[in-house]
């Protein structure tokens, strides 16, 4: 394959302004304040801990600078990974690090570079600009305040996990009563409360509802209305009424490794199927479901369900599947069998804005290789057409599907 073609496509894809449709950004602290904000990301603490780093420095109250030094020391054991490559790119792109490999000797230098860089008043804008980021979706608890930030830039998205799986808990009920004024006890009060929540979110420019779901979840038609499955379907009904997509992130088992680091407890069971959602897709034809699957094994189902169901859309490369080999295979399968208008290419899932760039870079690198290999080199498309195809995945579909 012509290296130049891939590079040209990559460069052209990098020119496309991004709307990142899923993240965990805190709009009041969107960028990092220290290197610890970067390296305390669970992708690094997990790998460091898995490679042998004791948990004391990984505790929330441990000294941040000592933690960073220790994680960099353990990085030597996982410098083969994609996760490490994101950090290397952050150091190079944002901190001016010029080496090809990060070693223990770089610890203080990087810490200080980060301190200096992140202290700039304009840092948030700088990251937006360098990332060519236009807007980014948040993931908001139902009782998050949505005031005090620019909701055109930080687009609210209602996270439904707590409502669906926690509403039997007294505390969650109390939180819901606090923001809606409604004591939920039956389908009617549930409906009222959801109505209030949705009204509030929509008023604040929310463009989606999202939920992560365990492998065994099956929201069937005859579920009890106050069961998780019933509440889930009630929320789908609200997405229909308020005309917003419902992001389904399917396949995570929570708390599998209970002693793990913060956010490093969850794994999965590959034995799950989208057939569990067939009734949902049939019953809510007006709702668009951008579906993310946690394992590459599920990708053929996802592509096939999106090929058949008008309201099922392929969405991003989630978590344990956000690894080059899985992205490459899953993306090719989607491109080869699903309408291009139904592919939400990627999202960063980031906690801090600095991660949007390296993650999208990884994705664009893979996308440009696929476009070159499967579309341009065999004469099926021109270079320009291929970039246009990439633009659907990187931008156009987000705008269209989420009505941004």
């Amino acid at each position: 394959m012509s290296g130049n073609l891939v590079e040209d496509l990559f460069d052209a894809l990098c020119e496309i302004p991004l709307i990142d449709p899923h993240s965990h950004i805190d709009p009041r602290a969107p960028v990092s304040k220290s290197l610890d904000d970067i390296l305390n990301y669970h992708y690094y603490t997990e790998l460091a801990h898995s490679a042998g780093m004791p948990k004391d420095l990984l505790a929330p109250d441990a000294d941040p600078q000592l933690r960073v030094a220790s994680i960099i020391r353990y990085m030597d054991k996982f410098d083969n990974t994609a996760q490490y490559s994101w950090f290397l790119e952050i150091a190079q792109e944002f901190l001016g690090f010029s080496g090809m490999k990060i070693t223990v000797a770089d610890t203080d230098k990087l810490w200080n570079l980060a301190d200096r860089t992140f202290a700039a008043k304009t840092w948030e804008d700088t990251v937006f600009k360098r990332t060519k980021l236009e807007a980014i979706f948040l993931t908001n608890e139902f009782d998050d305040s949505l005031d005090g930030f620019d909701t055109k830039r930080y687009i609210p998205c209602l996270r439904a996990d707590t409502l669906v799986f926690g509403l039997h808990e007294t505390e969650v009920k109390a939180r819901l009563a606090r923001v809606t004024g409604i004591e939920v006890g039956d389908p009617a009060t549930l409906d009222e409360a959801l109505m209030k929540l949705f009204e509030n979110f929509i008023r604040h420019n929310a463009k989606a509802c999202a939920i992560s779901l365990p492998p065994g979840f099956t929201p069937s038609r005859d579920a009890h209305p106050m069961s998780p499955e019933g509440i889930f379907r009630a929320i789908a009904g609200k997405c229909r009424d308020f005309l917003i997509p419902f992001d389904l992130m399917i396949g995570v088992n929570r708390n599998v490794y209970a002693q793990g680091v913060h956010r490093g407890h969850d794994l999965f069971d590959q034995r799950t199927s989208l057939i569990q959602y067939a009734e949902l897709f049939n019953d809510f034809p007006e709702v668009t479901f951008p579906v993310s699957v946690l394992t590459s094994n599920q990708n053929q189902e996802l592509a096939s369900y999106a090929w058949i169901f008008p309201n099922v859309v392929c969405s991003g490369h989630w978590w344990y599947s956000n690894i080059p080999i899985h992205i490459a295979r899953d993306l090719r399968a989607r491109l080869q069998s699903v309408p291009k208008t139904k592919l939400v290419g990627y999202y960063s899932d980031a906690y801090k804005l600095e991660f949007v760039l390296p993650k999208y870079h990884m994705y664009r690198g893979i996308l440009s290789e696929i476009l070159a290999n499967d579309y341009v080199e065999n004469g099926f498309m021109s270079e320009t057409e291929a970039v246009k195809l990439g633009k659907y995945l990187l931008r156009d579909n987000v705008r269209e599907i989420f009505r941004v």
Copy 2:
């Protein structure tokens, strides 16, 4: 990789005359009469509908020319897919279309080209010749008439779906009584009726029995003889007695999207295993089972079962797995671990003969890349030997296994 080598192998593979071992051709209307016969194929109506095309023009009684125009209009949304590439190739190879991309502006031209081309009295023979097609298997209902066509060219194959899953229905029983003269009510009358059916099919040159099966199907030894599993095993017994292979097409859930377009209702559940067929493979060692799996996930099982069981054969790349990335991976796994004499490489699954060529072209393109990369370039085989290996998959094994 040397592009020339791949092209040379591809050209050599294209010289091999084909016997297509599975299709849905109607031997009395084997070729298209209008462009609607091409584009009303469920692969196009599914994608157009999935991309947003309303269902009115997709109804059976809608105007064919308006339907074609509308599908081409929606094609703009799925011109990234393998399915689209088949259509482009049909337009180029059979209709003399010279463009690289089909747009709305081409609609009338293509419609007229098709009309003119398909009107030729010799069109059926022309397609056979250009496709280098020698013979093609049909999929016949048990009460189809097998008279009035050349069964050397259109080889009958008994489709067992209705018998296995419908025999409890009064109407199916009546149809069976009509063609066999036997009212089936117990294992003895079932055996008699099957005997008559098989005698009739074999007399008409039938070379196989075939069935599609849902993911959960488990034809165990102790099934009730009049249950689907029991009837299935009775049919396997007839395949043994009449010396024909039993094609198993494993993994489809029917009617998952009930509101879908014609033939676009079916999907699957990846959670299925060939272990469900272990008793069958053990109990019928004299029957050859060419097995197709619906998902690429099942391919390692298929290759491994074919590696171990003398009577299990890998067969084609079915439906949702008939996509380049899945074919490439599944085919390499089979070639690397299963005797070459046990690989039925491909079948078209076509409803109209015009699809045999582009589908086999896709397959031969992938096969030639694998032969070049995995066998010739590393010095493991000469180019001539590699083509011979390809010939097993494209022709020799069909002749040997189905005794054509």
Copy 3:
């Protein structure tokens, strides 16, 4: 990709002395005595039988020279496979065979070459030297004698299968009583017996315990202590106390094809998950579990569990997954997401030492392509660093994890 780079990496990887962490070598008959010792390997008898070879010559008491002649005759039907390529390489590397393809005409020549070559007194040492093999792990029944061989070269490993799945049988109980002096009937006597077994194995330089497990096995916390799951957990406890890793080889169904050739009866059910072992991994944090999975489908789970759990390690490419396409995909996924210190790259699983070289060659070929493509060509690593990464997989991690 530069062919030279791949070759250079391959050559450098071939210089690394091997410690093979899993085999079925008999330390008292480690090398072949005739060509039948090579071709009677179940990988060949399975494929020959699957391709049509009758079972009479595959019976244990059949004439070895006639069997070899027949297998070579059937080899013509599976000369496309990876398994065949190992044999070709053995003929070339060890027997001085100079052809590129083995045919029936070579039978006598190969038989005689093998006879002459294997008769050399120094043959065992020669194989060790040419293979650059330092040591190789055995798989010992609990009552195997561990005396009379060099346990630094042939490292004992306790196979737990019989204890876990057979202890309800009178004969197994009697065998256990014979070697430990203890009649096991309850948890206390089980503990005593295991203690004696482990003491004996550790005294003889055993470095691991290993077991193969069926797809449905779930060793949960509340298992009855004398059930297979309970005994399994008791053995895990002994691994903790004696500081040795517990190799889990997950996913095999025994005796699926009961009429198969010797060792060719076993297959699998892809529907299995590491979630079944979550309680085990949590309850025995001090035990390292090198996990092998039988299907490539399970590899993403394996990589993800090793990414999260400090005590889970990825191990080799087992049996039906020891095929280039599966190795390549599984290895890339592991390298891209798991600390390099947690990857036991490969083991031969060999019954005769001659197989270590061609199997590791296959692996090193794939590894060198991945290192070139994913690490060196994109500037992420130097060639030297890439070889060092390979060394972790081929040697360093075996030494570290098994304390060799």
